[in-house]
């Protein structure tokens, strides 16, 4: 347990350190804070005095430490555009992005496991072949094209679902707002969720299929057959559990990809989430927002990796997180 915590902590510190260096360099190079503060009409001498006062002439390390210190207290600067603390702006968009990620994850999990398992068990069946064919097409269509296609067919031609925006949201215990809680929100959520799932779903179907096929060839599955067990028990207890181990690991690695795809999906659907905000911030050169986004993404990254490690440890008895050994 202790080793696990230390490993996690070390990883978290390393990731955060790298992100903070990147963020700081961005802040250092992008946009002159003086411009934001005083405008153009101030003399050079006054500028220098202000620079000294703000510590902008201090050595790099001093400035970095000051930045890191502030960041640790949650102060990532003020968004130029929104005139509000950057972290606050980012976090206000978090729930929208999480709605989307949650919707997509739901779709991915509920389809990839049964389809992947089916394709592994009956590789010659026409349905399995269709799934595999579709999954090859699926990984060949870029996310934004899926989005455009879905918008064109279901929003413009058929008019079944709204083409953009998040719609109404409901409040969950007054703590959290989510599009899952209203009918209008759900309608808005459908197309973006399918879009976000569309690239990962085929990937996971293929992964689960190939892992399962490998497990089915293993000695312990053969031994299970030799024991005269029921086929269902062999497939769903002996094989599936072992199949899921590498799948969980790969799932954890995909979080970075998922974040990248939320940027694309949110952009097409104008979904008011963090990814959409980030791209807007890039176009507006709103440095504090860019920095805040990077740091929040880093935190999510660490969090998801930790959760995946814990799940992995729970499924795989050879990894002991909390235990006597």
């Amino acid at each position: 347990m202790l080793a696990f915590l230390i490993k996690r902590l070390a990883q978290a510190i390393a990731v955060m350190f790298v992100i903070s260096i990147i963020s700081f360099s961005i802040q250092d190079n992008l946009g002159d804070p003086l411009r934001e503060l005083v405008g153009q009409s101030v003399s050079e001498a006054e500028r220098q005095a202000l620079r000294d006062e703000l510590g902008l002439n201090d050595p790099f390390i001093t400035q970095y430490l000051r930045f890191a210190g502030k960041a640790l207290q949650g102060d990532l600067g003020t968004s130029y555009f929104f005139k509000k603390p950057a972290l606050e702006v980012i976090l206000s968009k978090l729930s929208a992005t999480l709605d989307l990620v949650f919707g997509a994850t739901l779709i991915i999990i509920s389809f990839s496991v049964p389809f992947g398992v089916y394709c592994a068990l009956k590789p010659q069946n026409w349905f399995a072949k269709t799934i595999m064919g579709l999954s090859t097409i699926g990984i060949s269509v870029p996310v934004f094209l899926t989005a455009i296609g879905l918008i064109y067919i279901f929003a413009i031609e058929l008019g079944w679902a709204p083409a953009f925006g998040r719609g109404e949201t409901g409040s969950f215990l007054g703590l959290w707002d989510s599009a899952f809680l209203t009918k209008d929100g759900l309608a808005h959520l459908v197309l973006p969720s399918i879009t976000l799932a569309s690239i990962m779903l085929p990937l996971f179907i293929r992964l689960i299929r190939s892992e399962m096929q490998e497990v089915l060839q293993s000695e312990y599955v053969r031994f299970a057959w030799a024991k005269g067990l029921f086929p269902n028990r062999i497939h769903y207890v002996h094989a599936l559990k072992n199949t899921m181990l590498p799948v969980i690991t790969v799932g954890g690695v995909q979080i970075g990809t998922m974040v990248a795809y939320t940027i694309l999906t949110e952009t097409v659907f104008q979904w008011p989430g963090m990814g959409f905000l980030f791209l807007e911030a890039v176009n507006r050169v709103d440095t504090p927002l860019i920095v805040a986004y990077l740091i929040v993404v880093g935190a999510i990254f660490i969090f998801v990796n930790t959760v995946v490690d814990i799940i992995y440890g729970l499924v795989n008895p050879t990894v002991k997180l909390i235990g006597n050994k």
Partner: protein, 318 residues
Amino acid sequence: MTQNSTLPVNNQAHTMSEKFFKSHFWHSFKIDIVAQLCFLVFIAYVFMALFAPAIAPFDPYDPASIDIMNSEIPPSWSEEGDESFWLGTDNQGRDLWSTILYGTRVSLLIGIGAVFLQAFLGICIGLVAGYIGGRLDSFLMRMADVQLSFSTLMVAIIFLAVFQASFGTELYQELAMFMLILVIGIAEWPQYARTVRASVLAEKEKEYVDAARVIGLSTPRIMFRHILPNTLSPILVISTVQVANAIIAEASLSFLGLGMPASEPSLGSLISSGFEYIFSGAWWITMIPGIVLVLLVLVMNLLGDWLRDVLNPKLYKG
């Protein structure tokens, strides 16, 4: 080979081509219609890209040939179509067919360029990690894990976004193609490095490597002349899929406005520039380049699958 060295050159070439036509590889290709079709389509794309200036009826890079009055003309087979614009025109009045030809050229160039860079970096790092091993190996592989978990697209988006914000859009647009190749090329090196490393570890155990060392060949020579040729089939399989991925990555970045500018569009930026017009019914500006892009990527992926089945290399998993 030493026995053949006295034979005339063309005779040797003859035996080599004979060997190829008798190989398992050729046999599998001959019986697989899907593979043949994919290969044919891929060749057609390469042909289109290479000879775009000759095939295209208009030069989309030449402002003189563009008339804004011609914008948003539908494809020639629809009622309002114009005979001279086969696939219609885009929002700027450029002939879509010509623009797609040039766009394919740009997309393929970036895709293949990026994969060359990936392969170069990955193969070098993989060879070194696998052959030298030890701490250097575990450090490099740890780096690869971290790099992969951040995901290429994520890294590319952040890097390009920051670059664009720092240096301004104009300079960025000039350097776009170079930057895309650089970023996609650098971000994906672990794919190659892991596979090459795995092959090296497997090959290193074999006797011919010992033999090469015993007769006093230098380490780089053993790596490049003796080990590398044996890792070629996994490299070939990865490369096919990687070109497809690089093309998708480029298209995605261009779609976000972080890639090729609209004045020199790739397939991705074409799709992006047409997106807002689908709401007014001009579906072709987005959909036709979209189909062209998907077909290209699909064909590459299918060829990759086929190669994997035929060559059956031990790819790095996970």
